[in-house]
Point group: C2
Chain length 167, copies 2
C-alpha cells in the first residue's frame, strides 16, 4: 500500500478491460484511498480478484498514479493562466530545449503541443499577478527562440474533474 506504481508500459494502445475492471476504475478515480474490501463489497466479488485486477491495471499502465489534489487557493496560489506560445524556429533541438525548460518550471502544470497558430499551450499557476509577471518576463521571455506569447486569464473554475467515463 505504501509503494508507488512501478511499471508503466509506454502510452500506446488500449488494454482490454471488462465491466468489472471499469467499475473498479470508477471507484478508484473518485477516491484513491478506497479499500480493496470496500470495492469488493460494492462490485460483489471477494478481495482477491479485486486486488489482482488493480495490480494488473497498475502494471499495464491503465492506472498511472494515485495523487492528492490540493486546493491552490488554500496554499496561496491564486492565479491560473492559459499561456499560448509559438517558437521562431521549429528545429528538433529548438523544441527539445523548450520542452526541457517547461519540465523544470514548476509554475507550468500542463503543456500541450497544439494545432493552430501557436505551437504550445501552457497552464501556469502562480501566487498572484506579480509572480506571473516575473515568470513571463524572467523565465518564458528569456528563452531563446521565443516567438509570440499570449495570455488568457482564468476568472473562474466551473468544472475540474479527472473522472474518465466512456460514452
Amino acid at each position: 500500500m505504501a509503494k508507488s506504481i512501478k511499471k508503466e508500459k509506454s502510452s500506446e494502445r488500449a488494454v482490454s478491460l471488462d465491466k468489472k475492471d471499469m467499475a473498479i476504475l470508477q471507484l478508484l478515480q473518485q477516491n484513491a484511498r478506497v479499500t480493496v474490501k470496500e470495492i469488493s463489497e460494492k462490485i460483489h466479488l471477494s478481495t482477491t480478484p479485486v486486488h489482482e485486477r488493480i495490480k494488473g491495471m497498475e502494471e499495464s499502465g491503465v492506472i498511472k498514479q494515485y495523487v492528492t489534489l490540493v486546493d491552490q487557493n488554500k496554499i496561496d496560489l491564486n492565479l491560473l493562466v492559459i499561456c499560448y506560445v509559438s517558437l521562431k524556429e521549429h528545429s528538433k533541438s529548438a523544441g527539445a530545449n523548450f520542452i526541457k525548460k517547461i519540465n523544470e518550471w514548476h509554475q507550468v502544470i500542463e503543456c500541450y503541443s497544439i494545432s493552430g497558430e501557436f505551437d504550445f499551450m501552457l497552464k501556469v499557476i502562480c501566487k498572484d499577478m506579480n509572480a506571473y509577471y516575473d515568470f513571463h518576463v524572467n523565465k518564458l521571455s528569456q528563452q531563446e527562440n521565443m516567438g509570440n506569447v499570449q495570455s488568457v486569464f482564468i476568472m473562474g473554475v466551473i468544472k475540474e474533474t479527472h473522472q474518465l467515463v466512456h460514452g
Copy 2:
C-alpha cells in the same frame, strides 16, 4: 482509510501551513497512498503528529481529494480538445443553464470562465474525431444561446502534473 474526505470549507483564503505541512503535502501529491509511517520516517516525526496534520488539512480543505489517474489512451479515449465557447446572451440564467449542461456532459473534464473574446474554455475528452463531432453537433451546438465555438486540437502532451509547489 476507506472513507473519503468530508469537510471542505468553501474555497477562500489561504490556510497557515508550516514547512512540515508542506513536506507532507508534497509526498501526498506524488502518491496518495503513501502510509503515515512512511511520511513520518521521511520528515523525521512520529506517526501521531503526521496523522493529525493530514486530518487537519483534510478538514480545512487544503487537501481536496485523493484521486487515481487513468491513462486515457489505455481505455480508448484518444482525442483531447480545447474548446472555446462564447454565449450570445450573458444573463445570469443563460449562464447558469450552460453551466448545468457542462456538469452533465462527462466528455467535458474541465471548464473555466476566461478573459478575452470567448466566455468559456472547455477541455473535452473523446474516443475519436467522430465522437467529438457528435459532441459538437448534437450537444454543444444544440444549446440555446450558443455563440461562437472554436476548437484547438491537442497533438501531444508535453507535461501534465498536479504537483503544486511554491514559487
